[in-house]
Symmetry: C2
Subunit: 317 residues, 2 copies
């Protein structure tokens, strides 16, 4: 049974935010379908996302476009179209999912990852591509042509260099600052090179937006599966949007009242709260080549540090 | 007894190079007087440097100017003036002497010392001073506002930050390059950021210049003390001039035919060859407040990796 204040919240959210169909479909595939095998019958998918304000025409146009962009691939079996995540779509998700669902690294020993993109034999497009990917990963421009990120691990940097096929063309360094980890010059470097204020505002807006529905769901008598799915999808859609812009700097370099941790806690709690309902809704609505949707993969239960319920019947009891 | 080909070489050197009095007096104080207590009677000093083409008037003008620049301080005892190195003059020498007389560090593990001089709260003159000192120390501008030197030790960088009183105003990092120590992008970085070609030419000119006198001294029957002193002084004057411009990059980053090591070996051999004669000449000519010049300090015998003779009488025998 639908909760009225949750329904009102969803209506006003959808009216206010005007979500783009492509973007919300990416969210649904990433958050809900990837962990259930990654392939569903288009008809059942259209039914699923109706609740998010998308009609059949919008969905058909979008999945067609996403197939052209190599996120999805379609397969016709009889009169039914099945849309599956491509390998490259999965890879793109994996990278984002690590940032979204994994607990962030809060331990920092003072390491920095540095790439000198003015040096070496990069051509214009290689330089632009590398620069874009590094900024997206949270690197900051600490001097003209020098991109750096405060992190002890070089894994992301090396991955990006290989993806851009420039690993043997760029000077990359692993550094440690001399002196205190959060000295005044470091604080100023961070303030100058990363746009933390905008991101803090985005986090605050996120917290404020989801606070009412969190309260409604917490005090509700019973949770409606469809509402759980919609709230969870909107939650991840918004959280992803802010989080992927967050350079994920270590706590020692963040301003004192940084709202990132509060936002993540809220996201985790609301995800946990809607999990059983949302998963039940997916199982009820979605259909695959084999018929019923497979249960979520092991990875799913590791999201948000493993707080999710393994057995929803028990949880409901 | 003067060797004629050595005398001819000295004459042509002095005619060609037109040494500035201030500069050559600094060399004599640094190379010959600092290790013998650092203080001598002006009259004896004038006699010492006559052989370098300086007359009494030139020396008096120079030491007066060097006293104003706080390199030297004068003391009048009776009718005699004694000129001593100041504490700050000694400090300035010590730094240069480490580069000149110590064996260079040829072991390199891939470390880099980095200073971000655009960051922090540096004012214009602090930034200029720091920049000048770091460039002088061999740092290269690897990106606008980013000075770096390939070295495993941060000692020089920290010393320079403290001398400039900016150690808590600048972001400094210790880095390691990822991948091979002498990858192609690193080689290109070095070629772009350091002016190695000019320095290589200077080293080659130095080698060519001192080669004839080295041969003459090696084949000479006996060495003349005054000539030994003059050759050693000119040697150190020229070697210092080139060496202090050399950024002292690790062997892995230098061009294949780098002449720095050949120049240093030549300098060491010629220093060794002239040592006993030059030292005897100093003892013969120079006079201090106490009368005779004290013997060289322990430090002196550590120059050039300790190849100098401890006992010249034995050596002469």
């Amino acid at each position: 049974m639908k909760n009225r204040s949750v329904a009102a919240w969803i209506d006003s959210f959808l009216a206010e935010r005007k979500l783009r169909a492509n973007s919300i479909i990416i969210t649904v595939y990433g958050d809900s379908i990837a962990s259930h095998g990654g392939s569903v019958w288009l008809g059942s998918f259209i039914r699923l996302v109706e609740s998010l304000g998308l009609n059949q025409r919008m969905v058909r146009t979008s999945v067609f476009r996403l197939a052209k962009e190599k996120w999805l691939v379609s397969e016709q079996i009889g009169r039914k179209s099945f849309y599956s995540l491509t390998a490259s779509g999965r890879r793109r998700f994996e990278h984002a999912h690590r940032r979204i669902y994994d607990e962030p690294v809060t331990q920092w020993e003072g390491g920095w990852q540095i790439a000198l993109i003015t040096s070496g034999k990069l051509n214009h497009s290689q330089r632009d591509g590398l620069r874009k990917d590094l900024l997206w990963e949270g690197f900051g421009l600490i001097a003209p042509g020098v991109l750096a990120h405060p992190s002890d691990s070089s894994a992301s940097l090396i991955e990006i260099l290989h993806e851009n096929e420039v690993h043997d063309l760029v000077v990359v360094m692993q550094a440690r600052t001399l002196g205190a980890l959060s000295s005044r010059p470091l604080q100023e470097l961070v303030r100058d090179c990363w746009n933390l204020e905008t991101i803090a505002q985005d986090y605050q807006r996120f917290i404020k937006r989801f606070h009412p529905v969190m309260r409604s769901l917490k005090t509700a008598h019973a949770l409606d599966p469809e509402q759980c799915f919609v709230v969870r999808t909107l939650l991840m859609h918004e959280f992803r949007r802010v989080l992927l812009r967050d350079p994920q700097l270590p706590p020692q370099l963040l301003p004192k009242d940084w709202p990132g941790e509060t936002a993540r806690r809220m996201c985790r709690d609301l995800y946990s709260l809607t999990q059983c309902g949302a998963e039940q809704y997916l199982m009820d609505v979605l259909e695959t080549v084999e018929g019923q949707l497979p249960p979520p993969s092991e990875d799913f239960f590791r999201r948000f540090g493993g707080v999710l319920a393994k057995d929803c019947r028990q949880d409901a009891a």
